[in-house]
């Protein structure tokens, strides 16, 4: 799976399932947690989504605002371990 595909799947998941506003124009480097769009529980949901969609396990200490605040950060973290 390419980086673009991972990013777009993540974007769709965040918009449809977490923010619940598919029309929201989420940019790649927008702080989704720091900007108040999602909370720390949503990070756990992103962790499970990464397991089920990309077969990548992100350890809990990596599911932090500092490491997962933007689409770019999430994509890079998933691409690191994707097979």
């Amino acid at each position: 799976m390419t980086e673009t595909e991972v990013r777009e799947k993540l974007r769709q998941f965040i918009l449809a399932d977490l923010i619940k506003d598919p029309k929201y124009a989420l940019t790649d480097d927008e702080g989704v947690v720091s900007g108040g769009l999602i909370d720390s529980f949503a990070l756990a949901e992103i962790g499970v989504f990464a397991e089920q969609e990309f077969n990548v396990y992100i350890p809990d200490p990596d599911l932090t605002v500092a490491k997962m605040n933007t689409l770019n950060l999430m994509t890079a973290r998933i691409m690191r371990d994707i097979k």
Partner: protein, 479 residues
């Protein structure tokens, strides 16, 4: 840490920075911390115990390192050297049984042969476990063992029973046993750091650590008594940079000393002044008016903050002097406008710990279930479990349990409220947002302060009597 202990650590930091060759800094921190945990441990009534408890911490820490070492990695020469040095320190300290030394590191230790036999049995047991148990089972066994030990130390009835058995073993009067005799300095933090390394090894994110790095990470003297709980990868980064650090770096020394000075002012001036009229069972009994009880409650809440954040400032400041960057633990928690951000800014290293090792894994395990429970059910269960762990971490007692549930209730209510009002809030004008923020700060502060009643009062009845007094009711008890 008291003033004398801070003074000794400052003197040690001065020697460390000014005289010690840079390449020995890592060793100095390890050896200094190993000796310091004996020195910091208060003396105890049970014979040998104030020597045995720090020794047990060193033994289980070395086993923690050995158990978390990847199976294909063998101990290096430096690890064997660190092990030998640590054992030599432990055995040398036991010799103070036979000689009077001016330094009060520990009260009369057991005979050398007893110490050697106990250490040999414990370490040999560890070696055999690693040899014969599958790696996964070994890590789980280590974690369960730590949790059980933690439970015994933190549950008054179990601690009393342990004290009774220890008194019997020491040939002392077992009828005098009390749970408070098991005052094991630093154990809460040591246990959580050890569990952290085990869990990180299971997740594959624990960095490769030498024994001296691991041991110093677990028992680093400035953070030994009350944290903060660093992450191994961050601690090691500082530790490995020690030989390259400039000793006489005026800027770093100024930053470290100012931090220590600020911490001492908070802890010994502000917190200690507030202690005189902070809520306590005795003062609550004497309170004549509702207003005085409120003053006591707020004094208690602010004393707790200034004492703990002052202590953390001292620990971080000492860390800066020694070249170890410890994590921040407080970020103006009483000025937060909701309970969620309060918990992101109060005792941050502990809240991060429970988020990583309780909240997140529990939430994820429920999110994976098919059919998946509703998000609110998952959040409710995970939040409750997390806050109960934080509560019971202080002591396994009903008031701490209720305090945990109190905060879980607050966090869950805030989650539901913020989900329902997020869109509405985003549409507010800046002026309206400021009003809501101010209201949020006041409500959060009041909620947190009322929660401290459970913290300050040792029994549920005493806490309920204080609540009654705070709201102008008299339920018949104190106040």
């Amino acid at each position: 840490m008291d003033l004398a202990q801070i003074a000794v650590m400052l003197a040690a930091a001065a020697l460390y920075l000014m005289i010690l060759p840079a390449r020995w800094r890592g060793w100095a921190l390890m050896i200094g911390s190993v000796v310091a945990i004996y020195w910091l441990q208060p003396s105890l009534a049970i014979r040998w115990l104030d020597y045995a408890l720090p020794t047990a911490i060193l033994a289980i820490t070395m086993l923690g390192w050995y158990f978390t070492l990847p199976q294909d990695v063998k101990p290096m020469r430096a690890d064997i050297a660190a092990f030998t040095v640590t054992i030599l320190i432990v055995l040398t300290l036991s010799l103070t049984r036979y000689i009077d030394v001016p330094l009060q590191l520990t009260t009369r230790p057991p005979p050398l042969e007893t110490v050697a036999a106990a250490l040999a049995a414990l370490l040999l047991g560890g070696v055999l476990l690693r040899r014969f148990l599958p790696p996964k089972a070994l890590l789980w066994l280590a974690m369960i063992g730590l949790i059980v030990l933690f439970g015994v130390v933190k549950t008054p009835a179990l601690a009393q029973e342990a004290a009774r058995l220890l008194r019997l073993n020491a040939g002392q009067d077992s009828t005098l046993a009390a749970g408070s005799e098991l005052a094991w300095l630093g154990f809460s933090y040591v246990a959580f750091r050890l569990i952290q390394t085990i869990r990180d090894r299971q997740s594959g994110i624990l960095p490769a650590l030498s024994l001296s790095e691991y041991l110093t990470f677990i028992v680093f003297a400035p953070a030994f008594t009350a944290g903060p709980i660093a992450r191994a990868e961050n601690f090691t980064e500082s530790f490995r940079a020690l030989p390259g650090m400039t000793g006489r770096d005026a800027q770093r020394i100024t930053v470290g000393l100012s931090r220590i000075a600020a911490g001492m002012f908070k802890k010994f001036v502000i917190a200690d002044s507030l202690a005189a009229f902070s809520l306590s069972p005795v003062l609550a009994e004497q309170a004549q008016t509702t207003g005085s009880l409120w003053v006591m409650l707020y004094a208690y809440g602010f004393r707790l903050f200034f004492d703990f954040s002052g202590y953390t400032d001292i620990a971080i400041g000492l860390g800066i002097l020694f070249g170890i960057l410890l994590p921040e633990n407080f970020d103006r928690p009483y000025l937060k406008n909701n309970i969620t951000t309060f918990w992101q800014s109060w005792h941050k290293s502990l809240s991060d710990w429970v988020r990583f090792y309780v909240y997140s894994p529990l939430s994820r395990s429920m999110l994976r279930r098919k059919p998946k429970p509703s998000n609110y059910v998952i959040i409710f269960i995970s939040t409750a479990a997390t806050m109960v762990v934080i509560g019971l971490w202080h002591e396994v007692a009903i008031p701490f349990l209720i305090w945990g549930v109190w905060h879980a209730g607050g966090l869950f209510t805030h989650k539901v409220w913020s989900d329902k009002t997020r869109a509405w809030y985003r549409g507010l004008t800046a002026g309206r947002k400021r009003i809501w923020t101010a209201a949020g700060v006041l409500i959060t502060l009041q909620f947190v302060m009322l929660g401290w009643v459970w913290f300050a009062m040792p029994t549920v009845n005493q806490a309920l009597a204080v609540f009654a007094g705070l709201f102008g009711l008299n339920l018949g008890g104190a106040p």
